[in-house]
């Protein structure tokens, strides 16, 4: 670099070029933001137009809407949560807390909402297990570095994509007609979806492993299963576990929603309670659901941090 002296012409040219570039970029950014804003207001208008009640008509009544939620007696929230008889009980469904008790033995009972929450969590756990069990072998078949056959790989990948994109609600509806409406149909639906979702993440992990252990095993004549078991699995298992835990968090949420459309569990009860305007019951359910999801999230985050360290929280491109 021997440009000790700068010609003023060259400098000006450079400055002009830079200014042109910047202004062009600014123009594109402004255009992008402008288009996004137009799209936002258009979709807002569309959503408002298509809705049963309109935003500005309903906005002044938001507080009325909240008023049913405030119970006359705050103790009813605890009573609803633990199925304790309420002095406000006048024979209506709003305060019939003890009716829901699930007796285990003698006078010992599980409160109704805890039982329902347990159902929802169990649906999430079992369906995640189904997802994990099928996603692991599929992910080995779908990984480019482990399976040389391109047709087999493509078939498995497309199959997993289909499972991932297929609306869970349809699978649940289909199986509700076969195994009767309830948690089992929800398990099948969420399980099938989890196979696709976990399988995709898993095979991407598989494709990024260190291949040297695999080459070593290949050199001593290990077959495909042995190579996968001893070279690949030890590398990927912590990541697999981490993603599975993340999936449990998501599945708890999905199984709550599934409950609201007939999949059993706490979602169903919550939907009923809100649609009938039972303040104390709704607050008890929301509280229980909130605490459960919060605990599941925290536990899963703690375990993931132990398994793969801070990597569990890194952005993935």
């Amino acid at each position: 670099m021997t440009s000790a002296t700068l010609h003023s012409d060259a400098t000006r040219q450079q400055a002009d070029a830079w200014r042109r570039q910047t202004s062009l970029r600014r123009f594109y950014t402004a255009l992008g933001v402008g288009l996004l804003l137009v799209a936002m207001f258009a979709t807002m208008w569309f959503a408002d137009e298509a809705n049963a009640g309109h935003f500005f008509d309903r906005l002044p009544h938001i507080l009325d809407f909240l008023s049913w939620l405030v119970p006359k007696d705050w103790n009813d929230v605890w009573r609803a949560l633990f199925d304790i008889a309420s002095p406000n009980d006048k024979g209506t469904q709003e305060f019939n807390f003890p009716l829901g008790r699930v007796y285990v033995w003698g006078g010992f009972y599980i409160p109704e909402y805890f039982e329902l929450m347990l159902t929802t969590v169990n649906v999430a756990l079992v369906s995640t297990f189904i997802g994990f069990v099928f996603a692991v072998p599929f992910s080995f078949i779908a990984a480019r570095n482990l399976t040389p056959n391109p047709i087999l790989r493509l078939v498995v990948k497309r199959f997993m994509e289909l499972l991932r994109a297929f609306p869970e609600i349809v699978i649940a509806g289909l199986f509700a007609a076969i195994v009767s409406i309830g948690p089992v149909a929800a398990i099948i639906a969420i399980g099938l979806h989890s196979i696709g979702a976990l399988g995709k993440l898993f095979y991407e992990i598989n494709e990024n492993i260190d291949m040297r252990p695999e080459e070593g095993l290949r050199a001593v004549g290990a077959n495909w299963f042995e190579r996968v078991r001893f070279a690949d699995l030890p590398q990927v298992l912590p990541n697999f576990m981490s993603y599975t835990l993340l999936r449990i968090e998501i599945n708890v949420r999905i199984s709550t929603i599934m409950g609201a459309v007939g999949g059993g569990g706490i979602g169903e009860e919550l939907k009923l309670s809100i649609s009938r305007g039972f303040g104390a019951k709704t607050l008890a359910l929301v509280l229980l659901l909130f605490i459960t999801i919060f605990l599941v999230d925290q536990f899963s985050a703690w375990l993931r941090r132990k398994l793969v360290g801070e990597q569990a929280f890194l952005m993935s491109a």
Binding site: L36, A39, M40, T43, F46, A47, D48, A50, N51, A52, G53, F55, R58, H61, I62, F65, L118, N122, L125, V126, F129, L162, A165, F166, P167, E168, I169, V170, G173, L174, A176, A177, I178, V179, S180, G182, P183, V184, I187, R253, T256, I257, A260, V261, G267, L270, K271, I274, S275, V286, L289, F290, I293, F294, D297, E310, F313, L314, M315, A317
Partner: protein
């Protein structure tokens, strides 16, 4: 060259690698414990969901039937035998329209009727006194004169004889039900009936070439409207497939995901700066905001959807609001985590020039995190497009509700499949848009992740 190691050699290797051969007991047995725990849990789940009973009472024979209904339709003509003259009757809203005269139902010269369910190989011929069902190379004669249907001769296994009814199942092709006063036929066709024009449309039943020439140059079928407008209106308002309604609902689902994610991002963006530990002016504020994000995330999308459905009424507004509130939490959390992981040097550099707070964020922080923010938002958008389908079913509008209603009637699986295909298409397109945009950003992200990895 097979060599066997001596005991000493084995021991030497074990001594050299104690971390492999002499691991503490808990490390050696935790996989076993994990597996045992899983098995125990599964046994418990088996009992909890009373799975054996559910499976015993389930109707798996319905599965192929339902699946075949996704891609086929049936016609069910009924022939009354107790009237002076036998005439075929079709149910209302039959796929054949008002004047059905299919060529697979024929009146023979000897005044018997023949219905060909699958050519001549699977058919039924009958008059008022007798019927003959042919399938699988066998013809089963039935006498109808003795007050109830009687099969003359041996009964093959595809025919079931009830007290007053004889049912002949012909697999996918259909079935025949015979009683003394009527013959009911179900004939199944592959494909979707009347997908373009329904039976009320003037274009109904016309071959494609004729429809096109009508649209291009034919006389106006409905005076005052062009044929093109009429055809478009007929397709959009097809009563059987409800294209217009389905597409509108699909658009609602897309809008819900887009609007919810975008608004969530807009609100989460400034909040994340106050929540990030390294940028916030006050540690208390950071903690409060982080707990707020956790709260918005942990109050499930379902709860928000149910609340907003009650507040605004069912529709996409409720769905958008539910996604919006959840996304404030999710995006706020990921944004603030991204901010906490930035490289501090550019920020210090800008700070050292004496720039004020906002300028430091704009030139020292934003260039580093914007690609991450956009990538995360796109990812959430993509997953919300899928999630909006489910949320719709609880009343938040969109295709989810329509799907759920079509399934609840239990009869319209072809419609369900049509909507599923559209949903899959939308998810596929949006996945690809999002992937494409994120790949464009990935170079920047790659640098970011490399920095992260270097920092450990």
């Amino acid at each position: 060259m097979a060599t066997t190691m001596t005991v000493d050699e084995v021991k030497a290797i074990e001594d050299r690698h104690p971390q492999i051969f002499q691991r503490p007991a808990y490390k050696r047995f935790w996989p076993l414990l994990l597996i045992a725990g899983t098995v125990l849990y599964l046994a418990y789940a088996l009992w909890f969901f009373s799975l054996p009973q559910v499976l015993r009472e389930s109707h798996w024979e319905r599965l192929p039937l339902f699946l075949s209904q996704w891609i086929s339709y049936d016609l069910q003509p009924e022939f009354r035998l107790d009237q002076p003259e036998i005439t075929p009757k079709y149910p209302r809203f039959s796929a054949l329209g008002e004047n059905p005269n299919p060529d697979w139902v024929t009146k023979n010269p000897d005044s018997t009727f023949t219905v060909r369910i699958d050519g001549d190989a699977k058919s039924v011929t009958f008059d008022k006194t007798r019927a003959a069902i042919t399938a699988n190379g066998v013809t089963v004669p039935i006498s109808l004169t003795s007050g109830k249907p009687v099969v003359a001769g041996p009964v093959p296994d595809w025919v079931t004889v009830h007290d007053d009814e004889i049912v002949a199942k012909m697999g996918f092709a259909g079935e025949v039900r015979v009683t003394v006063d009527r013959v009911k036929v179900r004939k199944r066709f592959l494909g979707w009936a009347n997908f373009v024009f329904d039976t009320r449309s003037p274009f109904f039943g016309k071959p494609a070439g004729e429809v096109i020439s009508l649209i291009l140059s034919g006389p106006e079928l409905q005076p005052g409207t062009s044929n093109l407008a009429l055809a478009a209106d007929n397709i959009w308002n097809n009563a059987q497939w409800q294209h217009g309604d389905v597409w509108t609902k699909l658009l609602q689902t897309i809008v819900m995901a887009f609007l919810g994610t975008l608004l969530g991002g807009i609100v989460a963006f400034p909040l994340a700066f106050f929540a990030a530990r390294n940028i916030t002016p006050s540690g208390v504020l950071s903690q409060v905001l982080k707990r707020f994000f956790d709260f918005m995330r942990s109050v499930d999308m379902l709860i928000w959807a149910l609340f907003f459905t009650r507040a605004f009424g069912p529709g996409p507004l409720a769905g958008s609001a539910a996604i919006f509130f959840t996304e404030i939490g999710t995006l706020g959390k990921t944004y603030s985590e991204a901010l906490e992981n930035i490289d501090d040097k550019p920020r210090e550099g800008v700070l050292s020039t004496g720039a004020n707070g906002i300028l430091v964020q704009r030139y020292g922080v934003l260039p580093e995190v914007v690609p991450v923010f956009i990538s995360q938002t796109l990812y959430q958008w993509e997953s919300n497009t899928r999630g909006a389908t489910i949320i719709g079913a609880v009343g938040a509008g969109g295709i989810g509700l329509k799907l759920w209603e079509a399934m609840r009637t239990n009869s319209n699986w072809a419609n369900v499949f049509y909507m599923v295909l559209l949903t899959l298409l939308v998810v596929f397109i949006f996945d690809n848009i999002s992937n494409f945009l994120r790949r464009r950003l990935s170079r920047t992200l790659h640098d970011y992740n490399r920095l992260q990895a270097e920092r450990g």
